[in-house]
């Protein structure tokens, strides 16, 4: 293998590895922009993954599996919404509880299929002309349809947040719910809707893992903690959907580095250390962002994590 092709393969692989992060982190952005932190993302991804696996092997349709995975994530998010919005539970605690619950439930549902392989999946979709561009083509435009769909989702989320009336309302609900309420908007309804959309996208992220990255069910090892990385990515991207893409692929490279270097026969750095890299990167980025006065909390919705109670007198 030539040096170039290894690099291109690594980068193309990084995009694949980064795609679940794109879905999940945009879900996180949408939920957090409405003021609700979703620490249950890892659980939603796992539920999404196991649902996709079962549906694909039952129906033979990867598309149906992908949709079902999203719906499963959304259903789990509905529980989060009920606890965090209607019952005004502490968002951190119930998010964590949902991750534990989601992980457990996914393992339980997945018990009979432990170790089994996925029977059918999406294949790569070459985009004519664009995929012929040297270097860029094979990296960006020889991916599967879901990668292109994730770009579309990011673009749509960005336009929705910044250019539409509902997006404006959504941001107001996350920044200053009392004002939004005074302007006649339903804070509760807006928050429910966007937490559920966030769960849908996290579910999609989980589906992508099982469909394209690890096509066999292996309990919590399936997502291997990337729900948490997605959560850090939301902060890293300053709550902006388009910035999520860049960040996700950066993490994609970190997740791929292990395989890439092994493929090149470089073993100076132990594989275990390389496997640690993405999580280390998460910690480093968060420390850097929080240590710097200017970037700390930059773009964070002002009412993030705060339950809304209308002040009647």
């Amino acid at each position: 293998m030539t040096q170039e092709s290894v690099l291109i393969l690594t980068l193309a692989g990084a995009i694949g590895t980064g795609t679940p992060l794109v879905f999940a982190a945009i879900g996180g952005v949408i939920s957090e922009r409405a003021g609700v932190i979703n620490l249950g993302m890892e659980g939603m991804m796992l539920i999404g993954a196991v649902t996709t696996f079962l549906v694909v092997n039952k129906t033979g349709s990867p598309l149906l599996g992908f949709i079902a995975g999203g719906i499963a994530g959304a259903l789990l998010a509905l529980i989060h919404a009920t606890l965090a919005i209607s019952l005004r539970a502490n968002q951190i605690v119930c998010g964590l509880a949902l991750t534990i619950f989601g992980t457990g439930l996914a393992s339980f549902i997945g018990k009979p299929i432990e170790g089994a392989g996925l029977e059918k999946s999406f294949s790569k979709l070459k985009i004519p002309f664009l995929s012929d561009i040297p270097a860029v083509g094979p990296v960006l435009f020889k991916q599967d349809g879901l990668v292109y769909f994730s770009w579309f989702v990011a673009l749509l989320a960005s336009l929705y947040l910044n250019r539409t009336r509902t997006g404006l309302s959504l941001r107001a609900v996350g920044e200053n719910p009392a004002t939004a309420d005074a302007m006649g908007l339903s804070v509760v309804r807006m928050r429910y809707a966007h937490v559920i959309i966030g769960g849908l996208l996290a579910g999609f992220g989980g589906s992508y893992v099982i469909l394209r990255i690890v096509p066999a069910w292996s309990q919590a090892g399936t997502t291997n903690g990337i729900g948490w990385i997605a959560l850090a990515l939301v902060v890293f991207a300053s709550w902006r959907p388009l910035r999520v893409i860049g960040g996700a692929y950066l993490f994609g490279v970190a997740l791929q580095a292990n395989f890439a270097l092994q493929a090149k026969g470089i073993t100076v750095i132990p594989a275990e250390f390389l496997a640690m890299l993405p999580y280390l990167l998460t910690v480093v980025i968060l420390v850097v962002l929080t240590a710097n006065r200017r970037t700390r909390g930059a773009g964070a919705p002002a009412a993030l994590g705060l339950p809304f109670v209308r002040d009647e007198r």
Binding site: R163, R165, L168, S169, R171, A172, E175, N176, A182, L185
Partner: protein, 490 residues
């Protein structure tokens, strides 16, 4: 144009409005005058549709209407500008005005809103840049945005709730010009206030409320400040200026070249002296470094530069305990938060500034708190009530009781009467005056220029963290002070 007919409204334990009637015609500026808790806000909430009356009804242009919500009220042309602005500070002016506007297309076109903002601004003398972020605007400009917002929605009747409490004297003048323009265009303005001078200045007619009832309704031309004050409080009140009767003694608080930062407040190179038997006022619009100044002196934030001496002891950057030991007490603006721990009880809060043994004697603390409750006539169910449950005036009394309990030589008070009703204001002022005559040194930091002028023997003006002016309190001119507060160099 709009009228209230025999409205009554009660909340658990309170009869907020009792058979209240009043009416406003087109082109009229009508003031609702009353102390805190007199029922003005409840009436306003009923007129805008936030609350539904228990009895009575609202009439609009002679027809009876049942207002279901503020949105419904606004659709019928009744708009309210709240004392605490309903703006999203991270949004631009145009975005705030678009928020919740159902006439907007799903895809926003900010251009249209921006044009409308400019047009309304020109017409009514409310200039504001539609693309500016709210957080970049001054408080006066934010208020303009609120007014434009209601006008943009087609309000014919505007309720302004305590609109001048946050403004400089110049901004008040500008606001009043706009209000007059609005009235001359046939809009009705309901001006809710407890400030007599302003009510006399701006209104055509006044309705005075006390204890949930209307106690007077008169044209401004037919009344006087004194008469309105008597109606409002129910007895004669004296809030006239009080000065030191004895010449000031030795300096007790000396601040030289103080430079400090605290939260979003900064102060640079401030030099202040307060002598025994003197009240020195710091006048300035909120957010011009008052907090950093006070916290720098009180040892709550380390000084970047400068020196602080309290009763001859150098306490520069030695921390708040050293400052207290030297004889300082500090009553911050943020009473429930910086001043008191809101979830702790009155007695526990009273203990916070004491040197305590390892085991706390609650019994004696409660006894002490009960004593304070009697001497300061604090209205509370008991000494074990959490301070967040108390009303503003009572919270301030708890804080004063604790701070004055240390018998301080030097006292810093920040906005001591903000949000208090006239009775409580009178109490706080007489307390400060009493301390002055006992030969204590008092630094009074306040946005309320009337208060600074009424109490201070000397006045400093602070603007953008610098002391820009010093003058005697006696005969201090509002215009000169106001200009200095707004940064215009004399």
């Amino acid at each position: 144009m709009i009228a209230a007919r025999h409205i009554s409204k009660s909340f658990p334990g309170v009869l907020a409005n009792q058979d209240v009637s009043f009416d406003v015609s087109a082109g009229e500026v009508h003031s609702l005058l009353g102390e805190n808790g007199a029922g003005k806000s409840t009436l306003a909430a009923i007129l805008t549709g936030l609350y539904q009356p228990d009895a009575g009804h609202v009439e609009l242009n002679g027809a009876r209407v049942a207002l279901k919500s503020p949105r419904h009220g606004l659709a019928l042309g009744i708009g309210m500008v709240h004392q605490h602005f309903r703006l999203v500070s991270q949004f631009t002016v145009a975005e705030n005005i678009s928020l919740g506007d159902r006439k907007q297309n799903w895809i926003l076109s900010t251009k249209k809103v921006e044009d409308a903002v400019r047009e309304i601004g020109e017409r009514y003398g409310l200039p504001v840049d539609p693309r500016a972020r709210i957080s970049e605007l001054t408080v006066g400009e934010q208020q303009r945005v609120e007014i434009i917002k209601t006008l943009y929605r087609g309000a014919q009747i505007l309720l302004l709730d305590e609109p001048t409490s946050v403004l400089t004297p110049q901004e008040v003048t500008t606001l009043f010009d706009s209000v007059r323009t609005l009235a001359s265009e046939g809009k009705s303005v309901i001006f809710i206030s407890h400030k007599l001078g302003e009510v006399m200045d701006i209104s055509d007619r006044v309705t005075v409320m006390r204890d949930g009832k209307v106690v007077g309704n008169t044209a401004v031309a037919d009344t006087s400040r004194e008469e309105l004050a008597r109606m409002m409080v129910g007895r004669d009140v004296d809030l006239s200026a009080i000065r030191a009767t004895k010449p000031a003694g030795a300096p007790l608080l000396e601040v030289r070249g103080l430079t400090a930062k605290s939260a979003r407040s900064h102060v640079s190179n401030a030099s202040i002296v307060v002598k025994a038997g003197e009240i020195v006022g710091i006048a300035g619009v909120s957010g011009n470094g008052q907090r950093a100044l006070a916290e720098g002196i009180a040892g709550l934030t380390p000084l970047i530069d400068g020196h602080v001496t309290i009763c001859g002891t150098d306490v520069t950057s030695k921390g708040s305990i050293a400052a207290r030991k030297a004889g300082l007490s500090y009553v911050p603006e943020d009473r429930n938060g910086t001043g008191l721990a809101p979830s702790l009880s009155i007695s526990e809060n009273m203990l916070l500034t004491e040197d305590l043994p390892f085991l706390v004697n609650h019994k004696s603390a409660v006894a002490k708190a009960e004593e304070a409750i009697t001497t300061y006539s604090i209205k509370t169910p008991g000494a074990s009530t959490a301070t967040r449950m108390l009303s503003g005036g009572n919270v301030q009394k708890v804080l004063l009781a604790r701070e004055l309990g240390h018998d301080p030589q030097v006292l810093i008070v920040s906005s001591p009467t903000w949000g208090l009703d006239v009775g409580a204001v009178e109490f706080v002022r007489s307390k400060l005056n009493e301390l002055r005559s006992q030969g204590r040194a008092i630094l009074l930091i306040s946005e309320d220029l009337d208060e600074v002028r009424a109490l201070s023997d000397r006045i400093y003006v602070i603007f953008e963290g610098k002391i820009v002016m010093e003058c005697p309190g006696e005969g201090a001119d509002v215009t000169t002070l106001g200009l200095a507060m707004a940064g215009a160099s004399a």
